[in-house]
């Protein structure tokens, strides 16, 4: 070992060798003895990381992981520099995808040698000696690019650490005591990038290689400009900066540097095992950085995110934020916007006590009533004031409660999906409290004017509609996150049908109050048709999946109580468990399903889809899916310019088109399956078996659709 060559041994010289003492003590101990100091328990001892065990010891070096020594001042070829620059983007994007800095950005070893390659400390070395490997490519070009990458990470870190997205869930904030150039101004680094570009122009290398390096430096510069943009004061600079960045990315894509050979010096610049040298005691698995094509796609996704920020900041409606959030929320897991963008959008929505950096906080309440009821907040508040002694404080209470609820709701669209599901579950009670407050205020005094009375009746229902949509989101998120077992899916679809039943009834109550020429009316009609279609789809799927229930009732009831605990609360003063919204519980599901099986009827005999009577006829399912598809197709043809947020509604229609395709694919596949069954009908002679067979072919794949199943290919 080389330890003796080091001048100073950790801890100093005042130590004595006690190895023999320990060996003797160990031999004196009885088999199974464990000696621990006072206050230190065996349980705590079991939490220790075992040194030498590769799965636990972050510092262990296996023979297969040995690396060649890295010298940061090794001169590099232009194409090697270009490749390293590309990998720096790969490291950064992988960090944005949720890996730790030590697995990604810190694996670029120049990060740890910024002083060593500082040209100010290398005055005696000529930066351009005319060779094919001028050292300036490292000390000027690479250093500036690495500094800019670190600064981009620093600025992202500052946004991410605001608490809008969650450390260790969405992103990893551990810096391992490595500097991200927190104290270096971004302007200084931009100057370094400009200086590097100027120096490259004076360099005598192939023009395509020079241009490729300059393109990468300019792309990095445009990203740094975007990250450091103060959106509150310089919002108008976002769009031009985005155009420059997209142009930069387009130019970078024109040239792909060759992959360096295994023994190339450039390869040594990236060390995936750097964690063993960093103060990070948790062992980290080695992350394989994405391919360069995927890196550019990730970067494009980041730029798309900024475009979305720009679009939202330009909009002046609450619907624009809610629709965008809703659409993003149902994205497949891999296409969720990066955590930085999700945090930035939440910041833009509400920061410095301003909405979108331009409206006061009261804007939320004003827009909420206008966009849901088509009536101004002033008119709503006048109705709430009628007959109240302390009217002002009550109206303020409503304004504050609604504002707070909607603010949190909008922010939650950009949480990660499990976190949002949890938030929605907890928010149901908040909805109920505001609904209760509104109901108390509006019931206090009857109005002589029937129009005012109708508005007073409708005001609490607006909150109830919002609450019901939240319940639907919670149930559907279970499909999106693949939480449901076989037995739970029919119950989930059954619940959706129950909730939509109430939703559609309440829409009928609210609709007459809304002015017919208002966008709110058009949107409510749109929502009504959409939910009608959804009810048909979920009713059909409930009957299809009913055969998946194989466990006894008791077991299902226990599972149900755990899965739907968010639906229940305790009433006062009886302390009995009641549902937050008036929908029937699991017992009604059992009675519905029993009737369905014994009487060959649908499990919704009390509901509006009873006109189709024979559950054992799979044609019913096909017909319901086809009807739903036609209703959704109608929605795709509506004039979106009548809506509050036409641009975002177009995005919503795109999502509806995906639902149409899923319905169509499901109906077609079912029809083929029915046709095939008909041929073998003489042999099996059992419709029930056909239905079971169809139900078991369903596959829930969130990439295809967040809540609807597809059909697996029949291999039998």
């Amino acid at each position: 070992m080389d330890i003796d060559n080091w001048k100073e041994i950790p801890g100093g010289d005042a130590f004595e060798d006690v190895t023999d003492l320990f060996d003797q003590a160990a031999s004196d101990m009885a088999q199974g003895d464990v000696i621990l100091s006072d206050g230190f328990t065996l349980m705590e001892a079991m939490g220790a990381f075992e040194i030498g065990e590769p799965r636990m010891d972050s510092g262990v070096i296996l023979d297969t992981n040995r690396r060649l020594p890295f010298d940061p001042l090794t001169p590099l070829l232009p194409e090697e520099v270009c490749w390293i620059l590309d990998r720096s983007f790969a490291c950064e994007m992988e960090w944005h995808s949720g890996s730790t800095l030590s697995q990604t950005v810190y694996t670029l070893l120049y990060v740890h040698h910024m002083t060593t390659i500082d040209p100010d400390f290398l005055l005696q070395v000529p930066l351009n000696d005319g060779s094919e490997r001028p050292i300036g490519l490292v000390t000027i070009v690479l250093r500036a690019a690495v500094m800019a990458m670190l600064k981009c990470c620093d600025l992202s870190w500052r946004e991410l650490s605001k608490g809008r997205v969650f450390d260790t869930e969405d992103w990893q904030g551990e810096k391992c005591d490595v500097s991200l150039l927190e104290g270096v101004p971004a302007e200084y680094i931009i100057q370094k990038l400009d200086a590097a570009c100027s120096w490259l122009h004076s360099l005598n290398i192939r023009s395509d290689q020079r241009d490729a390096i300059i393109d990468r430096l300019l792309l990095r510069k445009s990203l740094l400009e975007l990250f450091r943009l103060d959106l509150q004061h310089a919002r108008d600079r976002l769009r031009p900066s985005l155009v420059i960045a997209r142009h930069g990315l387009h130019k970078v894509l024109q040239y792909a540097p060759p992959q360096p050979l295994e023994d190339s010096l450039a390869i040594r610049a990236v060390d995936p095992y750097i964690t063993r040298r960093l103060p990070n005691f948790l062992p980290m698995r080695v992350v394989t950085l994405p391919s360069q094509d995927n890196v550019w796609k990730c970067l494009e996704q980041l730029l798309d995110g900024w475009s979305e920020v720009d679009s939202l900041l330009q909009s002046s409606t609450l619907s624009a934020w809610e629709l965008t959030g809703s659409i993003r929320n149902w994205s497949p897991p891999h296409s969720l916007p990066p955590p930085y963008i999700r945090s930035l959008i939440q910041t833009c929505f509400f920061d410095h006590n301003l909405i979108a950096y331009q409206f006061p906080a009261t804007w939320i309440s004003e827009r909420f009533w206008l966009e849901s009821l088509g009536i101004s907040w002033e008119k709503v508040s006048n109705i709430l004031r009628a007959g109240l002694v302390d009217a002002q404080s009550s109206v303020h209470e409503v304004e504050r409660s609604v504002g707070k609820l909607v603010l949190q709701d909008v922010r939650s669209y950009w949480f990660n999906p499990p976190r949002r599901r949890r938030y929605l579950m907890n928010s149901l009670l908040d909805h109920l409290i505001v609904f209760d407050l509104l109901q108390q205020l509006t019931r206090r005094c009857p109005f002589e004017d029937p129009e005012q009375q109708a508005i007073a009746n409708a005001i609490p229902y607006v909150l109830l509609l919002r609450q019901l949509r939240t319940v639907l989101d919670i149930i559907f998120s279970g499909f999106h996150q693949d939480l449901y077992a076989h037995d739970e899916r029919p119950i989930a679809y059954w619940h959706v049908v129950q909730v939509i039943e109430i939703y559609v009834d309440i829409v009928e109550e609210v609709k007459p109050v809304i002015p017919k020429d208002s966008p709110a009316y058009a949107e409510l009609e749109f929502a009504q048709t959409y939910h009608d279609a959804l009810e048909k789809i979920c009713g059909a799927l409930c009957s299809l999946t009913m055969s998946d229930i194989r466990q006894p009732k008791d077991r299902i009831s226990v599972n149900y109580r755990k899965r739907y605990k968010w639906l229940y609360t305790k009433s006062f003063p009886s302390n009995e468990e009641v549902t937050i919204i008036p929908i029937p519980g699991i017992d009604h599901f059992f009675s519905d399903s029993e009737q369905c099986i014994s009487a060959s009827r649908l499990p919704f005999h009390s509901l509006r889809i009873v006109n189709i009577s024979d559950i054992q006829d799979p044609l019913f399912v096909i017909q319901e899916l086809t009807n739903a598809k036609n209703m959704l197709l109608q929605l795709t043809r509506v004039d979106v310019e009548r809506f509050w947020a036409p641009k975002q509604t177009r995005d919503q229609i795109e999502f509806i088109q995906v639902t149409v395709q899923s319905c169509e694919a499901l109906a077609t596949a079912l029809q083929s399956s029915v046709d095939a069954s008909a041929e073998t009908h003489a042999v099996s002679n059992s419709d029930d078996q056909d239905r079971k067979h169809l139900g078991r072919k369903l596959r829930w794949v969130p990439v295809t659709h967040p809540w609807l199943p597809g059909l697996a290919q029949d291999t039998t």
Partner: protein, 104 residues
């Protein structure tokens, strides 16, 4: 540095216990030194160090003489080259189990 002479059996265990809550410096076969608070061991001499720091001296390209915090670790005897304790601690305790250390 001095080496402790071979003690009598019961005396060895009590002497070892006297090192509880003292710093131990353990050198391992792969060129690392661990410096941490001695909190426990077993018959197989798996030594537990709390608040440990790791210093690496070999291989040279991976050297990290400034150290890094690794927390609570357990080092098996088979990896140990040398165990060291601060000078004077054993003599001062004189075989009792007073456990005077940095936290008492």
């Amino acid at each position: 540095m001095s080496t402790t002479s071979s003690p009598s059996p019961s005396y060895a265990i009590s002497q070892m216990k006297s090192l509880f809550r003292q710093f131990l410096r353990i050198t391992t076969t792969d060129g690392r030194i661990f410096l941490g608070t001695f909190t426990g061991t077993d018959k197989h001499l798996n030594i537990i160090l709390a608040n440990a720091e790791e210093f690496r001296f070999a291989p040279r390209e991976e050297a990290n003489p400034n150290g890094r915090y690794v927390g609570l670790v357990m080092i098996p005897r088979r990896l140990m080259v040398k165990i060291e304790a601060p000078e004077g601690v054993l003599e001062s305790t004189d075989g009792d189990n007073s456990e005077d250390g940095m936290y008492t």
